[in-house]
């Protein structure tokens, strides 16, 4: 994202407003949800059985309950065995956007179609198609997340329960059951400069989210031990275009990609905790005809949930991902020929999130998002620093989606979110490095206050 801002300023200062719009779009992306009324109809459960908040979490807000994690692990196939249900759901989101700079607006920002549910006892999935507001009363349709699964349940290994499955998905980490990795929450740090933060961070520019396709094999052993390995390939740019994505966000040509995830997850009914590690290694050519960079991501995550009797739920998660980069080229600065890019670098993303939910209807979330990396004067203009720090504050109300609600299979959520930047491009003032005499931009100028109303049915 920052790279986008830098290009705006460096090459076309007049379109700064467009840059702000881009930041706002990222925030819109953070408001999408994964709670699907089709799943509620399929299982007879309420949304609040799988999600700590009765509208679900997804972009921000409460996370999955342990029961929701099991539903995901079972390939979205669990059912109440009460007839065939149509695995279709929809969502509409109206947003009032009040950016720190620029005009406020109120629009129907997103209309979503979900194909989600079970096909057979062993095959199920999640497919989201979204139409995002593109300005001037136009919408852009995109194929968002997909997660198609084949699962073998009720297996035994050494006398212990074993679930094995295969997931075909388009974002490394999206299919994760604990659902705190950046791809699963759409809540990564807003990224630094160039293709940063880490490759696993969906908020990074040129991230793989929705633009790759891969398969992973996963297993849950003895209810507590989760393991997953897989590989991904980026979609051709023509396919990305057909799926509704701008070519400028191409993650590049990736090859020799390996992904793994291991976690210990303990469901104590009234409490839950997990500890996991995640890794990804790939060779990336960006641009596709250019030299290949070697990227290696390694991260860990810790979560805790106090669930109690579901009246007062507290969820805490911490994700820490380090990326090592070995670049395929060391370009010279076009501005200062005496500067040469470093051959290696590192990027580092950290997310800390705390959510409190009362009666699964009222909630508040606080999140601290931080991204930083090795200083490189050529790769990360204007200051050579990719560091970004941001905070997210959300309050929400979801009156339905519980068993005793007016309806438990359709839903409404009202939310107010304040997205706040405190550091951008490694600095706290003049973040785009404009010369003296030109109006500067502070990180706070990227802040935005959003009020959203979402309905799912």
């Amino acid at each position: 994202m920052s790279s986008f801002f830098s290009r705006c300023v460096r090459y076309r200062p007049g379109i700064l407003a467009l840059c702000y719009s881009f930041a706002t779009l990222l925030m819109f992306a953070s408001t999408t949800v994964h709670a699907i009324p089709a799943y509620a109809r399929q299982t007879g459960s309420a949304c609040a059985d799988c999600h700590a908040g009765a509208y679900g979490g997804g972009g921000n807000g409460p996370n999955l309950t342990p029961y929701g994690m099991r539903f995901k692990l079972n390939g979205y196939t669990d059912t109440d065995d009460n007839g065939k249900k149509i695995p279709v759901a929809g969502q509409l989101t109206e947003t009032h956007d009040a950016p720190a700079r620029g005009k406020s607006s109120t629009d129907l920002t997103e209309a979503d179609l979900y194909l989600a549910g079970r096909l057979t006892d062993q095959i199920g999935g999640y497919v989201k198609v979204e139409a995002n507001y593109a300005g001037n009363d136009t919408y852009k349709t995109q194929l968002s997340n997909i997660d198609l699964r084949f699962v073998a349940k009720d297996l035994k290994l050494n006398g212990k329960d074993l679930t094995m499955g295969v997931s075909v998905n388009n974002s490394p980490g999206f299919d994760d059951p604990i659902a705190v990795l950046p791809a699963a929450v759409n809540l990564g740090p807003p990224g630094g400069q160039g293709p940063t933060g880490t490759f696993l961070n969906e908020s990074s520019a040129n991230s793989p989210a929705d633009r790759v396709i891969g398969a992973t094999v996963y297993g849950l052993y003895d209810k507590d031990w989760y393991g997953e390995v897989g590989t991904y390939n980026s979609l051709p740019t023509s396919t990305q275009d057909h799926l509704g994505y701008s070519i400028s966000g191409d993650p590049g040509k990736i090859s020799d990609t390996g992904y793994f995830r291991f976690a210990y997850m303990k469901d104590l009914k009234r409490q839950f905790f997990s500890a996991g590690i995640v890794g990804l290694t790939t060779r990336r050519q960006l641009p596709r005809t250019g030299p290949a960079d070697d990227l290696t991501d390694l991260g860990y995550d810790l979560t805790y949930q106090f669930l109690g009797n579901r009246e007062n739920i507290v969820q805490v998660s911490y994700v820490n991902i380090l990326e090592k980069r070995k670049y395929g080229s060391t370009p010279v600065s076009p501005v200062d020929p005496s500067l040469v890019a470093l051959p290696r670098g590192a990027l580092h993303d950290e997310n800390l999130s705390l959510t409190y939910t009362f009666k699964q209807s009222y909630g508040v979330q606080l999140a601290h998002l931080q991204s930083n990396g090795t200083r490189d004067a050529v790769r990360f203009g204007p200051y050579g620093k990719p560091d970004t720090t941001a905070n997210l504050f959300t309050v929400f109300w979801a009156p339905f989606g519980k068993e005793d609600s007016f309806t438990s299979i359709a839903n409404l959520k009202l939310a107010a979110t304040w997205f706040r930047f405190t550091r951008f491009n490694g600095v706290t003032d003049n973040i785009f490095g404009v010369p003296l005499g030109v109006a500067t931009t502070k990180p706070g100028d990227l802040n935005a206050f959003l009020v959203t109303a979402s309905v799912a049915f």
């Binding site: 299982t43 007879g44 459960s45 059912t79 009914k269 669930l307 009797n309 579901r310 068993e403």
Partner: protein, 129 residues
């Protein structure tokens, strides 16, 4: 001597009844409602006619096993034609893994080992009428 023995026996009986009554009243349905929410509610509804992955538990105490007409029970439970969900039966069933007491059941539950929680839960289930 026989009179003394008779008297002691009567006293023991009264005391035993009093203790049993006290024990019975110690089970707290209000607390049991919370136990239900954390242990059972994801798969079972306390509402009449509402089945989830598991059948509705409305009226469960005293109900014949596998007897709800609109729920698809496992063959394993349908074969238990002699089971009635009395408090005692529920106590035995819920205190250990479901697959142990009824191999082949769809129910995935490891059992509730906390005796107080179990008493409270069964007390709460008894209120679902």
């Amino acid at each position: 001597m026989p009179k003394l023995f008779l008297g002691l026996s009567a006293a023991a009986l009264v005391l035993g009844c009093a203790l049993a009554s006290r024990f019975a009243h110690a089970a707290d349905a209000t607390v049991g409602a919370d136990v239900f929410k954390s242990e059972c509610a994801e798969c079972h509804s306390p509402k009449e006619g509402r089945n989830k992955k598991g059948p509705s538990l409305f009226g469960i105490v005293g109900r014949k096993a596998a007897s709800l007409p609109d729920y698809k029970y496992s063959d394993a439970l349908r074969g238990r034609t002699d089971w009635v969900w009395t408090p005692e039966k529920l106590h035995g069933y819920l205190s250990q893994p479901a697959k142990q007491t009824n191999p082949g059941t769809k129910m995935k539950y490891d059992g509730l080992t906390d005796a107080k929680d179990l008493d409270d839960l069964i007390s709460y289930l008894g209120t679902l009428h």
